[in-house]
């Protein structure tokens, strides 16, 4: 009985710690994003609040919390309130299945705990499925606002999601074929033992998997160059044009956490997870993992301030006429290589 109780307590603690980290993660990320934007565009970025503007996110948070919560007169009040939560919850649920390492022994009490909440044998599918649910927040938010810009944003988002989810999943199939498992821990274990074992260096198909995955991932989380649902130029701010205050903050929170989850997935699927590329073991695996994830988060921000946005027809052409046929071909080639 006590054994089971301790297990349940450990899971509970893990979920609370993970939730706390995820909730506070957007604070440094917004600061970083604006700072990186500043330096890429040869200006300083936030500089006034605190040294180098590090307290800017807190100022923003206070602003968001005290801003008037506007609900448009003609909006569908129920769905309008519901939508930000729908976009946020699935992104948090994704992290239940993500492994951050093998296990860790708590000092002093010598209790070994695993660095994941749930070890699912369908982990990868679970993540792809649940992260796809988040799009409902955008669609319903866009519809409930009862504004044409928001509705167009929601429609764009649903079409974009459907198109790119296919390519994203097909890119993952190659990895699944190689590890012959849908379990993320098995996928990482199959890549241990040096850089050459990482899936991204499984020549010649590995780099192609990764490029397809990365492009489709950019589109899935609505980042530039695929942020058509919130295209400022033509849609004002797209699906969240009517949102203000804390509800707007929920959408932003979801977007940042989605970016982190996509980076984590890229690292686990293609860059060996917590595998040490030097093979010397002078840094603990979790540090390697976080370094790799950090690199991808930086890459997402770098791309955002480097590339222009695609037109909508270009978006559809890339998805359906380039990425999907390429990924099908890639699955075929991978099959030959494995046999």
């Amino acid at each position: 009985m006590t054994e089971a109780f301790i297990e349940v307590a450990i899971i509970f603690v893990k979920v609370v710690v993970l939730g706390f980290i995820l909730f506070s993660l957007p604070l440094p990320l917004t600061w970083l994003e604006r700072k990186i934007a500043g330096h890429i565009q040869v200006r300083l970025g936030p500089f006034r609040v605190g040294p180098h503007g590090v307290l800017q996110p807190f100022a923003d948070m206070v602003k968001m919390l005290f801003k008037e919560d506007v609900i448009p007169e003609q909006a569908d009040r129920l769905l309008f309130r519901f939508a930000p939560i729908v976009s946020m919850v699935p992104i948090f649920m994704v992290f239940v299945a993500i492994p951050f390492g093998e296990s860790w022994t708590i000092p002093y009490i010598n209790k070994e705990v695993t660095l994941y909440v749930a070890d699912m044998n369908v982990g990868l599918l679970y993540i792809l499925a649940i992260s796809g649910v988040a799009v409902y927040g955008i669609i319903l938010g866009g519809w409930a606002s009862n504004s044409k810009y928001a509705l167009l944003g929601g429609l764009r988002s649903s079409a974009q999601m459907i198109s790119y989810e296919v390519a994203l999943t097909f890119a993952c199939i190659g990895v699944v074929m190689l590890a012959s498992s849908l379990n993320l821990i098995d996928i990482v274990r199959a890549q241990t033992g040096g850089v050459t074992n990482w899936n991204v260096f499984y020549l010649p198909v590995g780099p192609v998997w990764f490029v397809i995955f990365f492009i489709a991932g950019l589109a899935e989380i609505n980042r530039i160059p695929f942020d058509l649902p919130e295209d400022e130029g033509t849609l004002a701010a797209g699906f969240h044009v009517e949102y203000s205050g804390i509800r707007f903050a929920y959408f932003m929170l979801a977007e940042y956490i989605a970016m982190v989850s996509m980076s984590v997935l890229a690292v686990i699927l293609f860059f060996g997870g917590w595998d040490d590329p030097t093979g010397l073991g002078w840094l603990p695996p979790i540090v390697w993992f976080l370094l790799k994830v950090g690199f991808f988060v930086y890459l997402f921000m770098w791309i955002r301030f480097t590339l222009p946005r695609y037109r909508y027809d270009q978006l559809m052409t890339i998805g359906w006429k380039i990425l999907i046929p390429l990924s099908l071909l890639n699955i075929l080639v991978t099959g030959w290589m494995i046999i």
């Binding site: 699912m120 599918l125 499925a129 649940i130 649910v133 409902y136 669609i139 319903l140 849908l182």
Partner: protein
């Protein structure tokens, strides 16, 4: 005990939200209600020890099919007047269809059509490997038939769109 409670919760919510799909007037609310219903079915699959089916349920139905449904509903921009015309099937036809499906279900279940399926799962977790093997050996023919059916539907949809464009 705990599982039974979960079962009752999932099924009650599934039935409630399914009723919502049929009874609510606003099509967007109907679609949201259907999403809720499909999630409950995923939960039921989980209770039947088939995490794969549960996840696929969410992936395909919630993640793709319902997004398309919502897309279509919003694109058609249905205002109050049109609801009536679309959703008023009078007379005996709908009742006959529902009754026919119900009789068919009862006949299949009591006629032993589900016996083989009932034996497979429910006692231990079905992992992806077993599932895939069974699908591509024992149930290969039904699998291929379904694939063909989907292909036909896809081609049909494209043909219809092409024709309407002239």
């Amino acid at each position: 005990m705990f599982e039974e409670l979960l079962f009752i919760f999932f099924s009650a919510t599934a039935i409630g939200s399914a009723l919502g799909v049929v009874l609510m007037r606003n099509p967007v609310y109907c679609a949201v209600s259907l999403v809720v219903c499909l999630f409950q079915v995923a939960g039921l699959f989980m209770l039947l020890r088939s995490p794969f089916l549960a996840v696929v349920q969410v992936f395909i139905y919630v993640g793709a099919v319902m997004v398309l449904f919502l897309f279509a509903i919003m694109l058609l921009d249905m205002k109050q007047i049109r609801y009536e015309r679309l959703f008023s099937a009078r007379g005996w036809v709908p009742y006959a269809v529902v009754a026919g499906i119900a009789i068919e279900f009862v006949a299949v279940i009591y006629g032993g059509g589900m016996d083989a399926l009932m034996k497979v799962g429910a006692t231990k977790a079905v992992d992806v490997k077993t599932f895939g093997r069974v699908l591509f050996t024992e149930y290969l023919f039904p699998f291929e038939v379904i694939s063909l059916l989907l292909l036909v539907a896809m081609v049909g949809a494209i043909v219809m769109v092409k024709r309407s464009r002239g």
